[in-house]
């Protein structure tokens, strides 16, 4: 049975009415990119905030709160992903996400 793509992508594309939205491009520099354990960390960090956190790469859009969606993004090392945060604490969410990714998910390289 082929259904519509039932992603964990419960991440809404922000409409124009949202005045502020943080976006940023960031490169994955850790050894394996968004591998399973890095995904866990992404979901953990994103879930701390009330804002919507989205990762966009290769034409796919994933809610950072969905493990499945982040895993399915399949972004490897060297991928430049687009981060979007929107909501009451979007600035803090962006800072935390950038810190996580640029800090190479706390992995020893």
């Amino acid at each position: 049975m082929k259904g519509p793509p039932q992603y964990g992508a419960l991440c809404r594309t922000p409409t124009k009415t949202i005045s502020s939205m943080q976006t940023r491009l960031i490169e994955l520099t850790n050894r394996l990119g968004l591998h399973a354990r890095a995904c866990v960390k992404v979901v953990r960090v994103a879930s701390r905030f009330r804002s919507e956190v989205c990762l966009i790469w290769n034409g796919r859009r994933a809610s950072a709160r969905s493990m499945m969606a982040v895993m399915l993004l399949a972004a490897g090392v060297g991928a430049t992903i687009r981060l979007e945060t929107s909501g009451p604490d979007e600035a803090e969410a962006m800072t935390a996400m950038v810190q996580l990714i640029s800090g190479q998910f706390g992995e020893r390289q």
């Binding site: 039932q6 394996l32 969905s66 493990m67």
Partner: protein, 577 residues
């Protein structure tokens, strides 16, 4: 419309009932419809299964992070926990239950399929392989779901349920042991495939290799399964149904007659005493063993103890299982065969076992695998030894091909004994150790085996497979599998006569031992110990009671000398007349 499907009957008897289909998913999952009123209950059942797995993971996580387990384990559990709590697995199946009015297992399996398709589109093999984690999590949930009773299916008192599947793994069949299926039908499989062996132990009719039963038969259709005639009649008309119900009663009557032989000693017309033993897979099989008056357990297949589970069974857990059987047989012998893992009993998910061997039947299996994994082997040996004071326990080593394997295995048994002595744990110091004869090489150098072992047991299924180079599970060549092949007859006769000459007890524990048409053939070869499915004990006993070993010996001598299949069939016909 009524139609007939042909397959291979792997267990005699007739069953009449309604079809229950099982899906093609990796884990065979039943699909059935529910009523709108049942949606809430089914959704709740699903939610509870998710919760139960979540707790399971959390407990595991707690146990691991508190101990000295490597951090990798904890991280691995984090991944699974997050997959489990993802809305794609939490919410979408619930919606499917309500929209499609189907059971929770089916809804979840469908969603797994959707996710798998998405993973398949990923180019990077590393990321694509993460689907294994999703499958693992879903299987955990399915196991919980299937362990709980689903909504009651509409059925009238006389309507039995017949399971129709594309294929069933031995693990699946064991799981179905707890259900009351009247018969099994599968598209794949062969007469001696392990699925068939397990189905037979349930003592229900089964027809395998039907090729497309799963696609042609619809849910809840009326079926007649005639295991003895290798046919399945779908939607039979009234007259056929009546005739089959009559036949069913006749069989039942015959069975009742056989049951009177339960306590009769198995002695031939010329006063040879024959031992009839049972092959079992689970401690629960003891009941059937006793009911059919077995003289002991000739083969306790231990590998089934750790199918349907994650990880290895612990020493204590194994000990409990062996002890139950040893004590349950009340002093009658119990022959415990060490793990025969590999080949078609392939256990997935066990580290080190998950690699796909290019030719599993010729690969690292049975005693080879145990010798390569001495820790696993020693754990089992210790458990068997610990159970030995509770009855008459023997150890049986599967698939020996050379003397060096026997010596290595004996050294490990000695090591297990030493470790128990050090801990002052009791065991039977005189425990007998025997070997399976199932490779032609073993038959042709049998004297060396006989001088190192206390007893021998001939596994005819593998002996035939290895002699004829026929994969018994491969539908395309299964018809070439022939117990009456001249080479097989010669090897069997040689193995039995060499053992008898060496004074080493020998048994046959393969399928041939349980087939009444081979009873006289084996008696004529000099066999006095047969081990078979408990369901066949009485039929074989009936044959023993009417046989004359001296007369059979004459026929067998002529059969041994012939290379003509037609002549062998004719001689066997006369022998059985």
């Amino acid at each position: 419309m009524s139609f007939v499907l042909h397959g291979i009957g792997v267990s005699n008897g007739i069953a009449i009932g309604r079809a229950q289909l099982v899906s093609h998913a990796t884990l065979e999952v039943a699909h059935y419809s529910i009523t709108p009123e049942q949606v809430a209950g089914e959704t709740e059942r699903f939610a509870q299964a998710l919760q139960s797995v979540q707790r399971e993971l959390e407990t595991l996580h707690g146990a691991m992070t508190s101990g000295d387990a490597p951090a990798e384990f904890g991280a691995f559990l984090d991944v699974h926990w997050m997959i489990l709590t993802d809305p794609t697995l939490h919410e979408i199946p619930k919606r499917t239950i309500a929209e499609q009015l189907c059971n929770a297992e089916w809804a979840l399996t469908q969603q797994l399929g959707v996710l798998m398709e998405q993973f398949e589109t990923i180019e990077d093999p590393y990321f694509r392989e993460r689907k294994a984690d999703v499958v693992h999590v879903v299987e955990r949930v399915l196991k919980v779901l299937m362990g709980k009773p689903g909504p009651v299916r509409p059925a009238t008192a006389e309507d039995h349920t017949i399971l129709v599947a594309h294929d069933l793994s031995p693990a699946d069949v064991i799981q179905f042991k707890n259900h009351d299926f009247a018969a099994f039908l599968t598209d794949l499989g062969g007469v001696t495939s392990h699925t068939a062996i397990v189905a037979r132990s349930l003592n229900v009719p089964a027809v395998v290799a039907t090729h497309n039963a799963r696609t042609l038969i619809r849910e809840n259709e009326m079926l007649i399964v005639d295991g003895g005639r290798n046919v399945v009649i779908v939607n039979p008309d009234r007259s056929v149904l009546t005739e089959y119900r009559l036949k069913q009663e006749e069989l039942e009557l015959e069975w009742q007659k056989l049951r009177r032989l339960r306590t009769t000693p198995a002695t031939t017309l010329d006063a040879c005493k024959i031992e009839l033993m049972a092959n079992i897979e689970l401690p629960e099989d003891l009941e059937q063993t006793m009911e059919n008056g077995a003289n002991g357990v000739g083969l306790f297949r231990t590998e089934f103890l750790f199918l349907n589970r994650d990880g290895l069974p612990s020493e204590d857990e194994q000990f409990e299982a062996y002890r139950t059987v040893a004590a349950g047989m009340k002093g009658q012998p119990v022959t415990v065969r060490t793990f025969d893992l590999g080949a078609d009993k392939h256990k997935e998910g066990l580290d080190g076992l998950s690699r796909v061997a290019p030719n599993p039947a010729l690969g690292l299996r049975a005693v080879r695998f145990c010798l390569a994994e001495p820790r696993l082997f020693l754990t089992q040996l210790r458990a068997i030894l610990r159970a030995s004071p509770y009855g008459k326990v023997k150890i049986l080593l599967p698939m020996l091909s050379s003397v060096s394997e026997i010596e290595q295995a004996l050294a490990l048994i000695a090591q297990a004994k030493d470790s128990l002595r050090e801990q002052k744990i009791k065991f039977d110091t005189g425990i007998e150790v025997g070997g399976m004869i199932e490779i032609p090489a073993a038959v042709l150098s049998l004297a060396a085996f006989a001088s190192r072992l206390d007893f021998l047991s001939i596994g005819t299924n593998d002996l035939i497979q290895y002699t004829l180079a026929v994969d018994r599970a491969d539908d395309a060549v299964a018809h070439l599998y022939d117990a009456l092949h001249p080479a097989v007859i010669k090897l069997l006769a040689l193995a039995i006569s060499t053992s008898n000459k060496a004074g080493v007890p020998v048994a046959v524990c393969g399928e041939m031992a349980g087939e009444a048409r081979f009873t006289r053939l084996l008696l004529g070869m000099g066999l006095t110990n047969f081990s078979m499915h408990p369901a066949h004990l009485l039929t074989v006993k009936q044959r023993v009671l009417t046989s004359d070993v001296g007369e059979a010996r004459g026929f067998v001598e002529r059969m041994r000398r012939s290379d003509e299949p037609a002549k062998l069939i004719a001689l066997l016909g006369k022998l059985n007349a």
